[in-house]
């Protein structure tokens, strides 16, 4: 069995369904897109249900979700963005829960980690980028936003260089967001697959060696999976937090 093949099968996107190509770009339903839609639908139905439901289960779920919502509001958006962050709150809530659900979906059997696809994380980071720019323009006006890209108090001749540096810094932030989420999500899967492959590597040498390696490998994979739950939460939090920090920097330049 080829390890690269296994990893590719588990981690890469697979097209399912018909393609429609527009200008050389192929738009088609794929595994990761399907996972995102499922996660989005779950979020939409789940949160709508628990925010309106009168049943005991809905109330319990609402309490749990409210705790997270209040954490995002009071400990991320409010301190970083201030009261100007109120209109952006629902964006951060959606971002956090969407990333969290996409991360966790990879741990469910038959699920796939959409956030382990660099196109998905790049798209999310692009939304952050757009929010930084649009939020900054909305809050300060176009000229104010452009002026505050460069920190104040610098000699005039350094401004053109700093402008370029700061603009590329803006892109670098979003690029870092893309890579951080993608790499964190894919790393755990690769480690888990690697340890599971050990069983077959030893098994190819001798059946007994494979059997001996199995408990060890499975134990390590269970541990890695537990760690992944933590990483899923952590990365969703970090992506949301950093987006808030970047947007906050654009909203309040001082």
């Amino acid at each position: 069995m080829n390890f690269e093949e296994v990893v590719g099968h588990h981690l890469l996107d697979h097209a399912i369904g018909p393609f429609a190509a527009v200008g050389g770009i192929r738009f088609g339903l794929s595994k990761h897109l399907l996972m995102m839609w499922i996660n989005g639908s779950l979020l939409l139905v789940g949160i709508s249900w628990l925010s309106r439901g009168r049943s005991k289960a809905a109330q319990l779920a609402r309490m749990a979700v409210e705790m997270v919502v209040l954490f995002i509001r009071d400990d991320i958006v409010e301190p970083i963005l201030g009261h100007a962050g109120r209109p952006y709150l629902h964006y951060f809530l959606t971002l956090f829960f969407f990333i969290l659900l996409c991360n966790l979906a990879g741990l469910v059997p038959y699920g796939a980690t959409a956030t382990g696809n660099i196109a998905v994380t790049a798209a999310l980071a692009s939304c952050t980028f757009a929010l930084i720019v649009l939020g900054g323009i909305r809050e300060q006006g176009l000229s104010g936003f452009l002026k505050h890209i460069v920190p104040g108090g610098l000699p005039w001749w350094i401004l053109p260089i700093m402008f370029v540096v700061e603009i590329s810094g803006l892109f670098a932030k979003c690029f870092a967001l893309t890579i951080r989420l993608f790499a964190n999500m894919i790393a755990g899967h690769i480690v888990a697959l690697g340890f599971l492959s050990l069983i077959f590597t030893f098994g190819a040498a001798s059946r007994l060696a494979g059997l001996a390696a199995a408990p060890f490998s499975v134990a390590v994979v269970v541990f890695v999976n537990a760690l992944e739950v933590l990483v899923c939460l952590l990365q969703a939090y970090i992506f949301t937090m950093l987006t808030a920090v970047f947007v906050g920097g654009a909203l309040h330049p001082h």
Binding site: L33, L44, A119, A122
Partner: protein, 174 residues
């Protein structure tokens, strides 16, 4: 592994569209109601707290004004008491003075009465004494003396009596 690191533009665009649609849908159907409920609860709690605080402030105000009133009442009572004492004292003074005056007046009047009485008694006594003396003299002189001597002696006696009665008072006649 190159496919792992090269983003698929189709999926990239799909993701952006899907995510933005999800943001809009969740805002309308999920976060909106949830946040509204949370904020309503929070504002209800805040208003409850404010109400409780206002009630406490009011109670404290009432307590303060009551204490002040009590202090005022105390002072008022003190004033009334001292005023009553003052008035009582004044009344006592006045009554005492009245009584003294009255007694003085009574004394005066009784003294005057006594004087009057004395004068009357003197006159009366004088008449009585005169009559008695006349009788005594009559008896004494009936036998021997002639009327001329009798008359002379009598008038002399009366003159002496007059002089004594005018100078000495009531005791002289008895």
């Amino acid at each position: 592994m190159e496919t792992l690191l090269s983003p698929d533009p189709g999926l990239y665009i799909w993701t952006i569209v899907s995510f933005l649609v999800l943001v809009g849908l969740l805002k309308a159907f999920a976060w909106g109601p949830l946040l509204r409920a949370v904020e309503e609860r929070e504002s209800a709690m805040r208003s409850e707290r404010e109400k409780a605080e206002a009630a406490r402030r009011e109670a404290e105000g009432i307590q303060r004004s009551l204490a002040e009133q009590l202090k005022g009442v105390d002072a008022q009572a003190q004033e009334i008491l001292s005023k009553a004492a003052r008035e009582g004292e004044a009344l006592r003074e006045r009554l005492k003075k009245d009584a003294e005056e009255e007694s003085k007046r009574l004394l005066e009047r009784s003294r005057e009465q006594l004087v009057e009485e004395k004068a009357r008694l003197v006159v009366e006594l004088r008449g009585e004494v005169a009559a008695l003396s006349v009788q005594a003299a009559e008896r004494l002189l009936k036998k021997s003396l002639d009327p001329g001597v009798k008359k002379e002696a009598l008038s002399e006696f009366l003159g002496q009596l007059d002089a004594r009665g005018g100078g000495k008072g009531p005791g002289g006649g008895a």
